[in-house]
Symmetry: C2
Subunit: 326 residues, 2 copies
């Protein structure tokens, strides 16, 4: 009987092997890149991205080289400015008013202190491909999605890594397009391990604004981000989850997104829900190989998507601009 069942069944995996789909960022990046290239076709000239390098950081230099390469390969102009860090603020201010500059990216850290925030605030929100301008960040947390209400034709720019993760979730059909735009994660429970200001917290806010119930986990504890019963709240609210730890979060989460730096932290596979979707955005692996025994989908890295989002943000900035000036 068992033999007949196996022969007749159409399921892809052989009997005994787990049914996990490992999805590489490259395949998702490719699709997004095609959309970006389509957008480029309608422009008079390639968008010009200016990168500002004002440190001797090897990782920053590598990121700058990577930006240059990706821009070149995909029809964007890239100009690297190497600047003494004391001159950077003036340089950025000039670029804000220079029509030749479409988008700007600063390779942090510059002063490696809270002074770097002043630099972030100096970049014009209309040229900020990283989505770090105060108004853009405020829009994001407040669930204000457009720069031009009530027309709502120009989307506010979102930070690259959180948006990359959202695009990955869309690709994996975790966003349900049967539901209305803005509520497509309604009913989903997501654990985000990392609550940094750069990725973890904005990501938790974005997911909750789209309707998810998000458990944001870091060493200080667990916070729940959600829009309340029936999504009645227009933007997310945050609640401390007293007595909750990673175990409680993972037990109820269909999606687990982890980005803890370093080799020490691993999401314990034993705590993961059967059939969960697992995404790692740390440069190290936050999941152990046996995650494939339980997950339905595993995305081991996201970098290639993030860089496409950078270009996508630049394109959007250029598309938004003429109307913004009119």
């Amino acid at each position: 009987m068992a033999t007949t069942a196996e022969a007749g069944a159409a399921s892809a995996q052989p009997n005994g092997a787990p049914s996990c789909k490992v999805v590489l960022a490259g395949s998702i990046a490719k699709k997004l890149l095609e959309e970006v290239k389509d957008g480029l076709k309608n422009l008079d000239k390639p968008p010009a991205l200016y990168g500002y390098l004002a440190n001797q950081d090897a990782a920053a230099r590598m990121y700058a080289d990577w930006t240059a390469k990706t821009c070149k390969e995909n029809g964007f102009d890239f100009h690297l400015r190497e600047v003494a860090r004391e001159d950077l603020e003036d340089e950025l201010r000039d670029a804000n008013h220079n029509a030749a500059v479409d988008g700007m990216i600063v390779y942090y850290p510059v002063f490696d202190s809270t002074r770097d925030r002043t630099l972030q605030w100096t970049v014009s929100m209309y040229k900020d491909v990283e989505g770090l301008s105060p108004q853009l960040i405020s829009n994001m947390y407040q669930n204000i999605r457009f720069l031009d209400p009530p027309a709502n034709t120009h989307k506010s720019i979102l930070p690259c890594t959180p948006l990359a993760i959202i695009k990955i979730l869309e690709h994996l059909q975790i966003y349900n397009t049967f539901l209305d735009y803005g509520s497509r994660l309604f009913g989903r429970r997501v654990t985000v391990v990392n609550r940094s200001e750069v990725v973890g917290r904005p990501l938790a806010a974005l997911l909750a604004n789209d309707g998810a119930e998000v458990y944001s986990v870091d060493v200080t504890g667990v916070q729940q981000f959600s829009r309340g019963t029936g999504l009645r709240k227009q933007k997310h609210e945050v609640k401390e989850m007293e007595g909750w730890g990673l175990e409680q979060c993972l037990a109820v989460s269909e999606v687990i997104i982890s980005g803890v730096p370093g080799e020490a932290f691993k999401v314990p596979t034993g705590m993961i829900r059967e059939g969960a979707v697992c995404i790692n955005f740390s440069s190290e692996k936050n999941f152990t190989p046996d995650v494939k025994e339980k997950a339905s989908i595993y995305v081991p890295a996201i970098g290639k998507v993030t860089i496409v989002i950078l270009l996508r943000n630049l394109l959007r900035i250029v598309q938004n601009r003429p109307q913004m000036q009119s």
Copy 2:
């Protein structure tokens, strides 16, 4: 600040109103019917469905009239045979060998006893639009999806109501087409309230065979249907959930499907998970109106989809046949 947020946000629902989508079966039936009509175009002649009425049951008569109307409206031939119940078995046996008869449906109850099962077993599996033949039922439980392994071009016929619910879940994008065929419910937890042999149990088995973790609830208790860790099992297994009741099932289920006859039973909205998908297949309402306060999607009835599935099964039978005989 709140005013700006509301004006700028793109979310469809006004602040304060819950975000539930009520989906009527008619809209889903329409889409399926178009597929059926496309299939009809490739046939030489309209498929002929024979209905057998051997009782004085008003509901059965109504169902027969309804079948006649739906067939007529959609290009299928329908012939109603009114037969004395003692003659029905012979009548069915003749029809099995009558080339003019493409599909057969018996309006139960006939004897209203286990003797009715003999009638179900008499209808040829190659003409059984209801999917009640022993071989078809066995295929369903064993997760054998095709009649012609290893070619696997002719799908086994599934019972109408359970298949209607699956088609509804596909329409609502609860089936994730990013996952492989046969595992597209992996990671989903579904509660099915009703474990009848006609709908509840086959439905639980079908959902579990597609990868879901299913909690099957009736007055005798809760059973879990699943394919085990990583979907390693080729077909579902059933486990008694000692100490579990409806409350435990609902707390973890993203999808709730209920079909308890009568007005007495209601799924308690307070126990339903935020953002759950709720489907009622009882002729009475198993959910109270406040389900819309919490659900992301609510389907109040499914009858219109079920009748399209009947026609779809008939079409499939005709499409399967020539090759089956060769």
